[in-house]
């Protein structure tokens, strides 16, 4: 018990004096996960909306696949991206393996299906309500997608945040494609895994505290914004 309290005290000390190692790891984590979320949102939002509105053969299969991919195991994503980026792989010549870019690719792959599947549900519900009115106004499919994405923006924030939560919390994918190289590809989750196995509990615990606070903070902010926006816009 005293080990834990001692570690906790040291961890809080690291956070309080903005320990350089700690800050560097947190900064890289945010950079990687936020970039991955931006990429995944750019792909997942239109993809989800297109599947919601589209009527094409194989649509039901695609929806089931998309929903299943929400539970994609990070280590498997890491393995696949590793194979693609490794020197012998098809994307090997790009030399991205063990760089932050590789980690962005892995996390974006992991969370694009999450954002797309949640978006599909939100947009499909909205389309049920809007379809006749928008068709009466002569909407084109492209315009309908843009209109619905904008009109459900407060609900879609939740979808994007679910992606952010998943990206920033996963360890398997970034470990494999990033390599957990100190000062280059070490992020919060990989550092926690490493420091724990090394026995350096204070740093692991400090990073863990920051990670949890971050995820909770982002979700709280999103919740508050969504509530306020829905009160304002109905």
């Amino acid at each position: 018990m005293s080990d834990i309290t001692a570690a906790l005290a040291t961890a809080l000390g690291l956070i309080a004096r903005l320990d350089a190692r700690l800050v560097e790891i947190v900064a890289l984590s945010l950079q990687v996960s936020l970039t991955a979320v931006a990429v995944a949102a750019g792909l997942g939002l239109p993809l989800g909306a297109a599947v919601a509105l589209g009527r094409f053969p194989g649509r039901r299969v695609l929806i089931v696949v998309l929903n299943s991919l929400m539970g994609l195991p990070p280590v498997v994503v890491g393995l696949v991206v590793y194979l693609l980026l490794s020197r012998a792989g098809p994307l090997g010549p790009l030399g991205l393996l063990f760089t932050p870019s590789a980690m962005v690719i892995a996390q974006a792959t992991l969370i694009t299906p999450i954002i797309a599947a949640l978006t599909r549900q939100v947009i499909e519900d909205a389309w049920r309500e809007y379809e006749e009115q928008l068709r009466s106004l002569g909407v084109t499919p492209r315009r309908a997608i843009l209109t619905l994405l904008w009109d459900t923006r407060f609900s879609l924030v939740t979808a994007v945040l679910a992606g952010f939560g998943r990206a920033s919390a996963e360890v398997g994918a970034v470990m494999i494609v990033g390599g957990n190289i100190d000062g280059v590809t070490r992020v919060m989750t990989t550092a926690i895994a490493l420091e724990t196995s090394k026995g350096d509990l204070p740093l692991a615990l400090g990073l863990g505290l920051i990670l949890i606070t971050l995820v909770m903070g982002v979700n709280t902010a999103a919740y508050v914004i969504k509530e306020a926006a829905q009160r304002k816009f109905g």
Partner: protein
């Protein structure tokens, strides 16, 4: 600049609509001409809303034909529709109208002016910048009417536009419909409310179980209904 040829008259012939093995509209034929307010009257479940959606092109007929103006292309662009439950986008009242104008291809420079004019006509100019979805039910329906009005349609479809509204809001909607009619737009409206049909109709299409039982001038319909079903409906009996 000359006006494009009219999309009226509307010629509906042997129109049939089947959904889930059930015939909802059953070999219906009628013609609609310019100038008269047509009220499609009938009990709930008669197929009034479906008939309106078929005419507006929101549903595809299972059989029969719908011909606008002897075969005008894209007749739907000259029509607008107001639904029983208004659907408003999460943006201001004004932006809901400019959005519709944008889809209709109205140049950007004209949209704001036309939208504000339409809002003023239904008495909503003071809430132009309010989010549309926080307006009351009656205000939202007036906004829906303004949105349709702004498009200057040749034909305006209204599907039970006051079914969810209190008498005050209903009155405002009916007054606006009268003005739209006076300005030359063909009104085609469904209702199951006899009083409203009496107030608005120039001619009545009486629909029962997916069939047109009567299509006559309103005065004639209410004074001398030709079918026992219409007579029963006017008496206030439950018919099905």
């Amino acid at each position: 600049m000359h006006a494009p040829p009219s999309i009226l008259p509307l010629a509906v012939h042997d129109l049939t609509f089947v959904a889930g093995g059930k015939t909802i509209i059953d070999r219906v034929s009628f013609d609609l001409r310019h100038g008269q307010r047509t009220v499609i009257l009938g009990p709930n479940g008669a197929g009034k809303s479906v008939l309106l959606r078929l005419c507006h092109g929101l549903l595809t007929p299972s059989g029969g034909s719908i011909v606008w103006g002897g075969g005008q292309p894209h007749p739907e662009r000259r029509q607008a529709m107001v639904f029983q439950r208004p659907v408003m986008l999460r943006r201001s009242a004004l932006a809901n109208i400019t959005y519709a104008l944008k889809l209709a291809g109205v140049p950007r420079a004209e949209r704001d002016m036309r939208a504000r004019a339409a809002l003023a006509k239904v008495g909503l100019d003071r809430v132009a910048d309010s989010p549309a979805r926080v307006l009351s039910g009656g205000e939202q329906q007036r906004l829906a009417l303004a949105r349709a009005w702004a498009l200057s349609p040749e034909v305006l479809f209204l599907d039970e536009p006051t079914a969810n509204l209190d008498p005050g809001a209903t009155r405002m909607i009916e007054e606006a419909i009268a003005v739209i009619h006076a300005n030359g737009t063909k009104i085609v409206m469904t209702t199951h409310d006899l009083g409203q049909a009496r107030r608005i109709a120039d001619e009545v299409i009486f629909l029962h179980r997916g069939r047109v039982l009567e299509h006559t001038p309103a005065a004639h319909f209410f004074d001398q209904p030709a079918t026992p079903e219409a007579a029963a409906f006017i008496r206030g009996d439950l018919i099905w």
